[in-house]
Symmetry: C2
Subunit: 375 residues, 2 copies
C-alpha cells in the first residue's frame, strides 16, 4: 500500500482521511496536538511541529507521497525532500510562491493574470499620498484567516499599516466573490469544479453562505473559469487548488488569492460532486485517473463558526432541528474547544432549486449556534 503523509491535522486533514477510507492507502499525519481533528483517523499519528525542519524532513522520509492541509509548513524541508525524490502535492516551489503575498501578486502580474492593482511596501513609510484609496494592506507572510490584512481608508489611517514587507492593493469594489477548485495530476491533466458563489452578508460583511454552481451571467462564469485555469497551469504543480476571485461592478474578474490545497470553498463537493475535492486529491496522489467534477445537485454551504463570548467545550445549539431538515448534511469537526470565530463545522444543503438552497442556508444561520457548555 502507498504510504501517504499529511502535514497538519485540522478539519481539512480530517475530511481528507474520511475520503481516504475508500482507497488502499496507509495514512500518516503530523501535527503538534494529539487531540487534533485528524489525529485518530490515520494509521500513524506523529506528534511533531510542521514548522520545524527536522520534524518535517523525518516525517517526509517515512512516506511515499506527501501533502499539506495548511500552508504554514517548513518549506526548506519540503525542498530537500523533493530533491531526494519525494512526490509532494503541491510542489514546494509553488507553495513558496503562494505563501508569500508579494511573490504571489508579482506572479499574477508577470503572467498577465487579472488582479487588483498593487504596490509592494517594506514598511508603513512606503504608503504615500499618491496611492488610490481605500486600499488593502496584506502582510507578505504570516497572515491567516483574515489576520495580517487591514483596510486603509485614506492617508490619515497610514498609522495602522504594517511595518513589515507587505502588499498594498487597491480595494476592489466587489460585486461578487467566486471560488474555483481545480485538480491537476502529474500528467498535467486538469479537472475543474463548478464555480462557487461566496455570498456575503452586506451588513456584517461576513460570509453568509456559499452556493454552487454560481448563478451569474455565463460571461462572468467563463472568465472566472478561464482565469482560474490559467493561474493553476502557470503555477505548474500537480495538486488541488482553490482560486478565489472578485467580480467588480464593471464585470471585471480579478484573482484575489490562490490556495494550493483542499479548501473551505470546496466542502460542498463531498455530497454535491461525483468526486469531491478530497477524493480528487487522493486520486492525484495515488496516480488514479481524475474524477468527475460535475454536480449531482446544486449545493449550499453554511459554515459553523464559534459564537462571540463563548470559549470552552463546544455545545451545538439547534443541531437537532438541523438534523431533522431534509437534504441537509452536518459536518462537525470534532474540536473539543470552541472559540469566538473558530471554524467548528459546516452544513451542506442539496437541492435542484436555488431558492430552496438560499432559504435553507438562511434558516440554518438562524437555528444553529456553536456555544460553550460553560459560557
Amino acid at each position: 500500500m502507498v504510504k501517504a503523509g499529511i502535514l497538519g491535522g485540522g478539519q481539512l486533514g480530517r475530511m481528507l482521511l474520511q475520503a481516504a477510507i475508500n482507497y488502499p492507502v496507509e495514512t500518516f499525519v503530523m501535527e503538534n496536538d494529539p487531540e487534533c481533528p485528524a489525529a485518530h483517523l490515520c494509521h500513524h499519528f506523529i506528534e511533531g511541529d510542521i514548522k520545524n525542519f527536522d520534524d518535517v524532513y523525518k516525517f517526509g522520509k517515512s512516506v511515499d507521497v506527501l501533502t499539506i492541509e495548511i500552508e504554514n509548513v517548513n518549506e526548506e524541508a519540503l525542498l530537500k525532500l523533493e530533491e531526494e525524490g519525494l512526490r509532494i502535492y503541491p510542489r514546494p516551489r509553488t507553495l513558496q510562491l503562494i505563501k508569500n503575498k508579494i511573490l504571489q501578486k508579482n506572479f499574477y502580474k508577470e503572467k498577465g493574470i487579472p488582479t487588483s492593482e498593487f504596490i509592494v511596501t517594506q514598511n508603513a513609510g512606503d504608503i504615500k499620498q499618491n496611492i488610490t484609496f481605500p486600499a488593502v494592506h496584506k502582510l507578505a507572510t504570516g497572515g491567516y484567516d483574515g489576520k495580517g490584512v487591514i483596510i486603509i481608508k485614506d492617508i490619515t489611517e497610514v498609522n495602522k499599516a504594517f511595518n513589515l514587507p507587505a502588499v498594498l492593493e487597491k480595494k476592489v469594489d466587489i460585486k461578487n466573490e467566486l471560488a474555483v477548485m481545480i485538480a491537476v495530476n502529474d500528467k498535467k491533466e486538469t479537472a475543474i469544479f463548478p464555480v462557487v458563489d461566496m455570498v456575503f452578508d452586506p451588513l456584517l460583511n461576513l460570509l453568509n453562505h456559499q452556493i454552487c454552481p454560481a448563478d451569474l451571467p455565463e460571461k462572468i462564469i467563463w472568465k472566472a473559469e478561464a482565469i482560474a485555469l490559467k493561474v493553476v497551469k502557470d503555477l505548474d504543480s500537480p495538486g488541488i487548488f482553490a482560486v478565489e476571485l472578485f467580480v467588480d461592478h464593471d464585470g471585471n474578474v480579478l484573482v484575489n488569492e490562490t490556495a494550493p490545497r483542499v479548501h473551505n470553498s470546496g466542502h460542498h463537493t463531498i455530497e454535491a460532486s461525483y468526486s469531491s475535492q478530497f477524493d480528487m486529491l487522493w486520486r492525484i496522489m495515488l496516480n488514479y485517473p481524475l474524477g468527475n467534477t460535475e454536480n449531482i445537485m446544486k449545493a449550499a454551504i453554511v459554515n459553523l463558526i464559534g459564537e462571540p463570548g463563548h470559549e470552552g467545550e463546544a455545545l451545538y445549539e439547534g443541531l437537532d432541528e438541523i438534523l431533522s431538515m431534509d437534504n441537509v448534511f452536518v459536518h462537525i469537526y470534532g474540536k473539543k474547544v470552541t472559540k469566538p470565530g473558530r471554524k467548528m463545522g459546516h452544513i451542506t444543503v442539496l437541492s435542484n432549486e436555488k431558492q430552496e438552497l438560499i432559504h435553507k442556508a438562511n434558516q440554518i444561520k438562524h437555528i444553529l449556534f456553536v456555544k460553550s457548555i460553560n459560557a
Copy 2:
C-alpha cells in the same frame, strides 16, 4: 462527547466510523486483529475477543452506547451490560433471537409473518420422507455468509444434513430477492429505505449486483415494505435492520432472514440516500432525529470479491479503468490479504436511468478483479 463502542472491526465498522466523522462522538472499537479495516479509524482501538464475556463486558463498561457490526458476539455480556443500564443497539434479546435460526423462524411463525414452511431438526434423522423437497437445511447457530447452509434435493441426500439443531425450510422457487433497510430509534419511530433488488446471476447462482429502488410491481414493493416493517416492529428494538425477502413466482413475499445491524445490501445508501444506513445508526445512537431515507439518485452496487485461486496481498486489477468511469464510487475495505470469496470492497453506481445502472454494473463485473500480488 458521547463515547460509542463498536464490537467488531471489519468493513461495516470501517464505514460506520467514516460516517461518525461528521458527528461529535468519541469512538471505541474492539476486535482481535489490530490490522482490521476499522482499527485505525477510531479514537480507541481495544484488542479483544468479541466472543469472550470478560472482554465484551469490560469494553461495554468503558462506553455510553454500544453497537455491533457482526452478530457473533458474546450475548451474555451484552445482557449484563444492558441490565446495568448500557444502551445497546440492537437490544441483546433481539440479537439472541436473530442469531438462532430456530428462534428466528419461530418468531416469524408466531407473529404471522410470511416465511417459507419449515421444521426444526435436532439431527439428520429428523429429516423424513414426508418433507417437501428440495429443502434448505440451516444450522441454528454458527452459520455465516452462506456457511452452515446446504440444499437437500431429496431424501437420498439426507446424509449431507447437519447433525446439530437446525431449521429445514422448503426451498422457495425464487423469482426475486429483495432487501429492506429500516431504522428504529428509541422513541420507536421508524424510517424505511427504498427497497433493494438483489440481482442474481442465473448461471452462477451468485449475487451479480444490487439495484435500488427495486423496479418491481407496486404491489410487490408495498408487500415487501409492510412485511419488513412488521418484522422490525415485532423485534421491538431500536437500531438498524436489514430484512431480506424472497418473491416467488406466484407473487408471494416471504421473509428469508433479518440482520440487526448495518448490512451489505445497504451500502449504496452512502451516496444514494440523503442519510446513509451508517449515518442513520449514529443518529439513533446519539439521540438525533432520524434522517431522510429518500434516494438522491437510483443506485447499483457491485461487490468486490476475492478471485478464486488468489490468496495474499491484494491487487485491484482494473481499478484505474473503473475510476475513470463517471458516476462510479469505489470503496476498498483496506484488507491486507485477499482470499477466494472474501469481501474486499464494493462499487456504487449512480444514475437516473436503470438501464445505465445495469450496463455499468455488468461492465464493472468484467473489468475489476481482486487478485493477489504473488498469485
